[in-house]
Symmetry: C2
Subunit: 409 residues, 2 copies
């Protein structure tokens, strides 16, 4: 199940002119399921990416970094689900490369123009032959209006495809931004365990696009956590189609830069929250706001300590306003000079802790009513500064255990 999340309606995800997406069934892990997507980029497109910081990054992540460091223009993305091609050593690299090489041959572009992405089980051999055999069908089917089907094709344990489109008038031009993402477990920022792709109908030089993506990632995917595990395969890509006549953003100083960044951020925040809403076994979507910090980093640190606490997460599952567990997490979040006598805590609008102790006017029934809702917000004030940050997470249920105990079977 998921919390307050529905699949995008047919027609809701607007195409980005020139970006064509083909989907097929390669039978990577199971037959009869869309599991291979090919995204073909038009001439002049630019692309920015952020990747997992996990030292055991997967072969496709290593190859994406190689491509990032090359001068070759991006021409295609090839994305499979069912197998992460991680922990697979040289053989895994060779298999990912052979897929890229085959697709590049078909498209008549440089091998480094094809970017590979994989998600699924780790440490099993990627059946690259089956993917290679399926490439012609994926390319032949590629059409612009295919983002929704792609959102479904990249799912693993996700229960709902995740996507969002919006159109904004920026600098006199109508600009469409469309994004999709997958991920529901092994979700912890830097990056969240996820694949995310956002396309914009605009002309943006790569360094400007990368700056925009870095900013957007901080306020979206790096704020979400499901279980604190950082995956081997995370990638979040921002693609500008470079269409002549579309909005041009030449510099981070342009007025249009901020407007486009905000539009991209709105889509990215929606996608990031969707990951927590569809967190494995999630029955609650939780927003943790931490205010009164000296800087945003310490606010996020406290928010994540709360969001990662299995004790807080099981209390959320039980709709139990177990304040002690929340305060305990604040206490061990690693702020050594925290004055706990200044800490405040609110569940929804109910003030439950003031000056580090239980609010004398606090009535547990009020907090219990907040905790009974499927969407819960809590705020912690550290009482030592003006910084604020937010973290999104979900609860920890029987189903989290079931899903992760059974995933490979």
């Amino acid at each position: 199940m998921s919390v307050g999340l529905t699949a995008p309606a047919t027609g809701e995800l607007q195409p980005i002119p020139g970006i064509r997406i083909g989907i097929t069934q390669a039978g990577v892990r199971k037959a009869g399921k869309d599991d291979l997507a090919v995204m073909l980029l038009p001439e002049g497109a630019t692309m920015a990416g952020v990747y997992t910081l996990n030292r055991f990054c997967a072969a496709p992540v290593t190859l994406c970094r190689e491509r990032r460091d090359s001068d070759v223009a991006p021409r295609a993305l090839v994305i499979n689900t069912g197998n992460a091609n991680a922990g697979t050593g040289k053989d895994g690299m060779a298999r990912a490369q052979s897929i890229c090489r085959t697709l590049a041959g078909r498209l008549g572009c440089d091998e480094l123009g094809v970017w590979p992405f994989s998600t699924g089980v780790i440490m099993e051999t990627l059946p690259s032959e089956r993917i290679i055999d399926a490439l012609p069908a994926a390319v032949a089917e590629a059409v612009e209006d295919n983002w929704l089907r792609a959102a479904s094709a990249i799912m693993t344990t996700d229960t709902v495809p995740k996507g969002r489109s919006l159109t904004r008038v920026i600098g006199g031009a109508s600009v469409t931004v469309t994004g999709i993402a997958k991920g529901s477990g092994m979700i912890q920022p830097n990056m969240a365990t996820m694949l995310g792709y956002i396309g914009v109908d605009a002309q943006v030089p790569q360094p400007v696009l990368q700056a925009m993506l870095d900013e957007v990632t901080q306020e979206s995917f790096n704020r979400v956590t499901v279980d604190g595990d950082t995956s081997t395969n995370d990638a979040f890509m921002l693609i500008a189609n470079g269409r002549p006549g579309s909005l041009t953003v030449d510099s981070v100083e342009d007025d249009s830069y901020a407007a486009l960044r905000d539009a991209v951020a709105e889509v990215a925040v929606f996608l990031a929250q969707s990951l927590a809403r569809d967190g494995e076994g999630a029955t609650k979507f939780v927003t943790i706001e931490v205010s009164g910090g000296r800087d945003r980093a310490e606010c996020r640190q406290v928010g994540k300590a709360i969001a990662h606490s299995p004790l807080v997460k099981t209390a959320l599952f039980a709709s139990d306003p177990n304040l002690g567990r929340i305060l305990a997490a604040v206490g061990y979040a690693g702020i050594d000079d925290l004055d706990v006598g200044r800490v405040g805590l609110w569940l929804g609008d109910v003030r439950v802790v003031v000056d580090g102790g239980r609010d004398p006017d606090y009535i547990e029934a009020d907090a219990a009513a907040v905790m009974a809702e499927p969407e819960i917000s809590m705020r912690i004030d550290l009482g030592r500064g003006l910084a604020v940050d937010q973290v999104w997470t979900c609860d920890f249920s029987y189903d989290y255990v079931r899903i992760n105990a059974e995933y490979r079977s």
Copy 2:
């Protein structure tokens, strides 16, 4: 349930001469359960302690630190279960102090000679009146041979009382060491969420005893983790009875120091492992050995990343040799310059990863056989040094969620 853990047999926990323990039912949280223990120390006893690093430490921990910093000799410990007296502000401090003052009056000692300890629910008012009313009965009943009953009286969600005794001949003297501990959830070192008390029949000046406790804690309780949550109330105390004629250890340089420390460590390691064996919902006891590190700290850091991963823990519950999750945890453990191409992994005696990739000779059935056992050991070699460390943990089951979702109800 617990893994490979049985309660100490009657008579197994040897008394420490001069240390008398009285137990009674104060009705702190529920009626009809032993929930109050008073430990009375003889003249000349010394005591060392280590406490939680949680900034939201409970009132009794704050009071223990005050007593540590005073010159008053310890005369009594008063320990209640059912209520942690944490997050209770000034009222909580006053209540803990009134308990100490009352017991001190009864014993005719300084208030600072009475050390309070509490464990149980957080952020609820400690019913100090009921504890005060029960003190006379506890004192009246105090006898030396009461460690086993104390081990039961301090339990919260523990399913088995935890205790161990041993006798060693050191420097020609026969020395008894007896310890008890409680704790099964909110267990993460520095300290593990736990209360632990070890008594030794020896004369040891306080600074020497403290040095010994600090060393022992590093190799015992700081190696165990259940869920990564650090409690507000942890305390681990080492008490030397100071009996005239018993072994005297005057300095950390004495030969007898190392021998006594090893004996205390043996008891502490047993108790620490007992916490993981009785971890909430535990069905597996897991030893994670990390070798080949540059220093012990980084070995422990990697061990804890694995031990804290909900994905690894649910795979352990499922007896699934999901190697990818283990490697992923190694990869995000925070060793930035880790060369993953040198990492090796063994499940039991089965080598599953070599040079960062799957061992070509690995047969999953062999690893599955290891994972099916209730006691599992894994070894990770980082391939960059000579340091080794160990972490003990348990798996993450449906019952962990159930226990923690229902704890307050």
